[in-house]
Symmetry: C2
Subunit: 234 residues, 2 copies
DNA sequence: CGGTGCGTTGACATTTCTCAACTGTTGTGG
DNA sequence: CCACAACAGTTGAGAAATGTCAACGCACCG
């Protein structure tokens, strides 16, 4: 039975980690793993939820299309993160689109029917979902803080400083989780502005860029830029 | 016993409305009503949660102070809305400040200890909390959408169009729930820009302003401004 | 009646966007 | 394997939006 794969997947999710065996088994029975290539759709804005999802491998983008056709990226998700919980629990329709953004992405879908039944019966599962929703809240609040900062340099500096370090920490290395074009949209600035900011900082020795890999050479300057309303280096 | 007041207050909250009697009674036992004047503090960023809250009357502002001292308003709350659920359920500290912004505001505090005990025992209560958290998620996502729109006219138009109508609907009347200065901060624009936008729209007959009361005379133009990347009325 | 603070208005500086051209990389089909 | 298309990224120049600074009117409050 293929459920062992699903079961193992569920166990690894942060918010399901502490659930008892039998509950995980029951959840697994109503779940399935999807294998996706870059660009494949997971669900579509406005449709009725068949379940909620968690990323096992690869990456997923959640975005909305506004009435006039512009695309607004709400979130980028990587292994261990779940999404569309609220659609299943409360909204009754997906409020956004979701697609895989990398080849060989794997996503587990926790079926709505099974899940809702268990959710109503078992307080441990509802507690787990509450934890999950709270994490979402926190990340959205941080996102709002980021966007409320007026100047583009501030927004970018804040964003860079919040990225998880990859590898060494003295010359602090980070990796952009998306294309620069998308990052620009995420920060609500034009791609050209993003490019110029990085260029300027590179020229003044604050950062060093190699594709999506950045070295934050002088984080004190970056912190100053993030805190003030945006400013020069040196 | 003064619990009848608390009890009646809890009954009116949207997410507690469907809870059974005994559960409401138990919650009420751990809750209390606060009477506040404008400017009085409800809780402070970083402190340990004593409970979460719901507005019964008046208004509450939730805001954060960033490292450099600027104030970022996260939300304005009115009767029926609850807040700080996540602080109690998950974070273990208040992630923001909350103050009353009107005289004679009334707020009910649902004590953390009592609440958490009931929450862990009763799936109906956890379901109610999930509903509450989902509402928060939705409003934050809308807020992000609002902020991601580049132009100031768009952001303002969107905001105005989402305000609930007060009174008549043909000349659509709305009321700003906060001072214009604060609204400007909310939309991440300068107060002067806000003033000039409203002036321009008034001159072109799109809106009519009388203090915090606005008449949206031509919502089609407003919708166009909201959808495009912001532009003239003519 | 003077103070305090919001809201408005004007002039100006600056940031940021837009448009356009050019580069470099990637992937595809011949 | 190469040529070419497609697209992200960069750079420049000019335009437009927005912020800043400063002054003033106006209401509210002691």
């Amino acid at each position: 039975m293929p459920d062992t794969q699903v079961r193992a997947a569920l166990e690894k999710l942060p918010h399901f980690r502490n659930l008892p065996r039998e509950l995980l088994d029951a959840l697994a029975a109503g779940s399935r793993v999807l294998e996706l290539r870059a660009g494949e759709t997971i669900f579509t804005q406005g449709t009725e939820p068949t379940g909620f999802f968690a990323v096992l491998a690869g990456a997923v983008r959640v975005y909305r299309i506004s009435p006039d056709g512009r695309e607004q990226v709400l979130h980028h998700l990587r292994a261990g993160q779940s999404f569309a919980e609220a659609a299943v629990l409360s909204f009754g329709r997906y409020p956004a689109h979701a697609i895989a953004t990398e080849d060989d992405s794997r996503v587990v879908e926790i079926g709505a029917a099974t899940f809702l039944k268990l959710f109503r019966e078992d307080p441990r599962l509802s507690a787990a979902m509450v934890g999950s929703l709270c994490m979402w809240l926190l990340s959205l609040v941080e996102r709002i803080e980021e966007l409320q900062v007026a100047s583009a340099p501030s927004r970018l500096a804040r964003y860079l400083l919040r990225l998880p370090a990859t590898g060494a920490k003295d010359p602090l290395m980070v990796e952009l989780p998306m294309a620069k074009k998308e990052l620009a949209a995420h920060l609500a600035i034009a791609p050209e502005t993003l490019s110029r900011l990085l260029r300027r900082w590179q020229d003044s020795g604050v950062v060093e860029t190699r594709g999506r890999h950045l070295a934050l050479l002088d984080s004190r300057v970056l912190i100053a830029i993030a805190d003030r309303e945006g400013e020069e280096a040196s």
